[in-house]
Symmetry: C2
Subunit: 281 residues, 2 copies
């Protein structure tokens, strides 16, 4: 099997490593816009060959995995629609939002090429090719998006060495869940951090008084701005809807506090405690 | 020295244990509304005597520490103002909000009794007398509130066995910092949890897809409703102000997302990352 991985960050490089655990013979070609990253990937034994020429990489490929940021995945989908591909190839991606990706893949699927949207709930705070981990996908929920059951089956068979927990889902449902579980928490945490700016200016010693609660709640407020701009820009409708529901919760709490409504405060935290208990840790 | 600890939860019981590490002779009397808690405290060697009769407990006391929830501290301050106390006694508390406590202590101080507001940035997820830990206060920031430098000095000397990092602060400044660092994060986390209710109803499998970011950000959304109702009700003005500033951040982000303003999203997360870096972990 010939596998092409486009984008050798943590997700793509880990996928390449994990795919090497399969029983069959595999040749892995890596494509990245950073020459140094590709060299490292070869040296670390993550890929067998490297190239920046997409056409030469994808020719005869059986599986093409686009593992770049979502905006770049969309660009590659447009490029792939104009290249010569093996008729049986499966193209998939690892982007964290799916509605825009599925739309961008239409040109490709109209040309008769198989595309399956993909997104694994994997990834750490680390980044780059040196963060590659062959166990990154082990037992991790891995969403696949396609209306063709046979294609889902083929993709699962091709990606079997990842040992992920594959689940089919619609792009819309996927993006709503991600908005709620990932995009919204990042906004909430960053807004909390930003709202300390004024107090911090008046009290520069503020950080030393921050306890575990503040630190947990704001941890992802330190996330990479470039990455999160990309994620939010490609999942705007779902994120906006989640954010507006959230804003209503904040507005309700302001009103409850203004009224000194102790029962209202208690109900707010009682509801939260009951729902939070459904989530682990 | 005779020490009276009122309220034998984690804070009070740990304080009693830590005070036993001092060099001088100390007699510790525990007061709690729960007989079982007091019995446990005696059995665990945390206190020397127990009683529910406040007057008999506080007579001849050199130091009285009120370690109950803030609302109850306020009740005790009113009660103490009507009891016979040693003229040199120092009364202090461990409540997490201070403006209301300092106001409630006025009757006592008008009667010539020394009162110093206190609040240590200590405490774990555990609760109750069995969570007592003699090291709980070690090296922890411990705020003291009083306009009398000599009284602060005396209090620090009396509480020296705690090995805490004592800092003086005004009640207003203290409550603003707590609103920002503790009250607001609890509201933000609970609002985020509550805002998942709708999605959770449609997708009961949602929790299994929640990753570390969601879990960190919502961890304190599982906090005790009774305790947090008490905290917020006693620190309403500062919490409301912090929450309103926070709401403005959320509103700004909604507008940025509505406009598809990528530079605006980037600026939001760039600011957050820079500020978050000033806080540890």
């Amino acid at each position: 099997m010939k596998l092409v991985v486009v984008g050798l960050g943590e997700m793509g490089a880990s996928l390449a490593l994990a795919m090497k655990r399969g029983r069959g013979k595999i040749e892995i070609v890596g494509v990245d816009n950073d020459e140094r990253t590709m060299n490292q990937a070869v040296q670390l034994g993550i890929i067998d060959k490297m190239t920046t020429d997409l056409q030469s990489a994808v020719i005869n490929a059986d599986l093409i995995v686009l593992a770049t940021p979502t905006k770049v995945i969309i660009d590659y989908l447009t490029q792939l629609a104009r290249l010569t591909l093996k008729q049986t190839v499966v193209v998939t991606d690892t982007g964290s939002t799916k509605v825009q990706v599925m739309q961008a893949a239409r040109e490709l699927t109209t040309a008769g090429i198989n595309f399956v949207g993909g997104h694994a709930m994997a990834g750490t705070q680390k980044a780059g090719v040196t963060a590659a981990d062959e166990k990154l996908y082990d037992e991790v929920p891995y969403f696949l998006i396609s209306t063709q059951p046979k294609l889902i089956e083929t993709t699962q068979r091709l990606l079997a060495p990842l040992q992920a927990k594959f689940t089919t889902i619609t792009a819309v449902k996927h993006d709503q869940m991600m908005a709620q579980l990932s995009d919204l928490p990042h906004i909430v945490a960053a807004a909390l951090v930003n709202s300390t700016a004024q107090t911090l200016q008046a009290e520069p010693e503020l950080p030393q008084y921050a306890a575990g609660g503040f630190k947990d709640t704001t941890r992802i407020g330190g996330a990479d701005p470039k990455m999160w701009t990309d994620v939010l820009m490609t999942n705007r409708p779902a994120t906006l809807s989640a954010l507006q529901h959230y804003q209503a919760q904040i507005a309700a709490m302001i009103s409850v506090l203004e009224n000194g409504d102790a029962a209202g405060i208690n109900a707010f935290f009682t509801s939260s405690r009951a729902i939070r208990a459904k989530f682990e840790e």
